[in-house]
Amino acid sequence: MALMTDHLVRRYGGLQVPRYTSYPSAAEFSASVGQKDHETWLRHLEPGSRISVYLHVPYCRQLCLYCGCHTKVVRRDEVIDRYRETLEAEIRLVARRVKEPLRIARLHWGGGTPSILGLDGLRSVLDSLARSFDFDAGLEHAIELDPRFVSRPLAQGLAALGVNRVSLGVQDLDDIVQLAIGRVQPFDDVRSAVEFLREAGIERLNLDLMYGLPHQTCESIQETCTKVLSLHPDRVACYGYAHMPQRKANQRLINSAALPGPEERFLQARAVAECFTQNGYVAIGLDHFARPTDPLAMASLSGTLHRNFQGYTDDDRPILVAFGASAISQLPDGYVQNVADIGTYLRAIDEERLPAARGYRLTPDDRARGTIIESLMCNFTADLSILGEPSHYVDELALLRPLIADGLVRLDRHSMMMTEAGRPFVRLAAAVFDQFRADDFSRFSAAV
């Protein structure tokens, strides 16, 4: 079994495949979707719909070398204030275009480092949201935090704002790795961040880890996992580091010679999975773990898990309205992404224009394929009959044959499933259903 897997990792490990947080992946968005579509699509939302809201804050106090997000280092508070005011203006612009009232069921602050807005800044944005939208009674209110900046007052302030879920970017707890990725945060910092948050009453904690980082080994990552386990997080996510130095200047400072190869990456991901599953966590999709009583774990077990830009969600009908530079909205008609350049974003809002820069209008075929890809990514199974008769998917069947021959995929008439051995390779199986032509696949991260 181990030998067979090694052989498969060598064959498939180095391949470049999208992570399918959406279908089509954001790389396929184009400027053919813009402000007009965004307006129309917002108007199509049914009044009273439950929506998720994403707020993007593209600033950090310092830049981590591994970061692949849209974020910038900022030192002057005026810059942050100006951005926050614009974010609120965008909320008003969008609110004027929807049939009120929409109900926010989930709220997610991402970045960047959203807490850089400060408690007053965060409150001001929330007030703007509250003026235009209803908040669901059971609102899930989540924020991404950098453990280095979590103080007792911040934790208490966040709790007072209604924040009830926090994702802490842990990445790795090994000194050498932390140095190599430019993010030195000793375990004690992480532990006190967790303590402050729990003390403040924020119980739902996600800890985010990474594999594939420079100098990481299976042993070092296991040590990180053991420490993380001692904090009893509700959820853990572990993403593969995507090294794209040609696109991300900060990543050029990472010594690529210190990066683990495809086989090592595969083993690291497996070591993480073993650590958490052997300690009572349920493996969710490709890279998440949760305690069995966590809603995400329950959604996973009942096959109602969904994929979104943050990874996995138990949100059953995801409509995502996103604010901020580079933020992506997921509307029933399609995807819209705001312009990533902050200056252009600020100007658009100043001129009272929606800052939509690119997007994608979904066709019925895209939806069917998207459903299959999402179902594979979430549940490791898919019903191919939504593509129609088998004659409509002969090409996919042909491309699946090698994966079936390798024991990664099983097919029983129109129902397809990843085998236990095949799960780590689910993105390859999903790619079989991806109709988008892309001559340059180097912009995607490694398949495992």
Binding site: A398, P402, V432, A438
Partner: protein, 219 residues
Amino acid sequence: MAVCSALQDDEVAELERAMSFVRLESNTSLVEEGEPRRRVYTLTSGLLRLSLALPDGRRQITGFLMPGDYLGLADDEIYAQTAEAVVPSGLCSFSVRDMDRLMERYPRLRDRLHLMTRAALRQARETQMILGRLAPSEKVASFLLHMSNRAAAYGRPESPVPLPMTRTDIADYLGLTIETVSRTFTKLKTQGLIRLPDPHSVEIVDKSRLAVVAGLTVH
């Protein structure tokens, strides 16, 4: 040249006396469909595209000639297909009359040409197999394997497979759209079966799995 390999030195010398060289620029035609068959050709370098005109004015590409292949051997009084150079190409040519005369004199040459004709027919059968596949991935995969096997049969590497023709040529040959051909190349690449080092060559990474996709071997 493949035809000479069965012959003695004096026979080769005789053959060379009857032979002339032709150089073709890209996109110039060597023979047209329906022309009287006066000469037989063998390709020494480059690539030729074979096609038939359809009644509605479209063309069906029926195959590609690669170095070592013959043209005109299996035809009757007229050329059955148009042959054009895809890239600058070199050919050896014999008049049909000289060829017949030499074959009378040298039975080994006759045997050799007989083998060549059979090879051409085998290729035609393989082409039918490719075109008879249902799925685009099956068609493209079997096309790549076919080109690779032919190159190997002439002692050239199995991979990378040179594809100097355009994606349109490949699309016309396989009866697919250009978009489908491009997408299929990408899909085969994503699955780790081929690599595309440049637009005009395909590296076969995993021949046996490519054959599984082609539906040519059972798994």
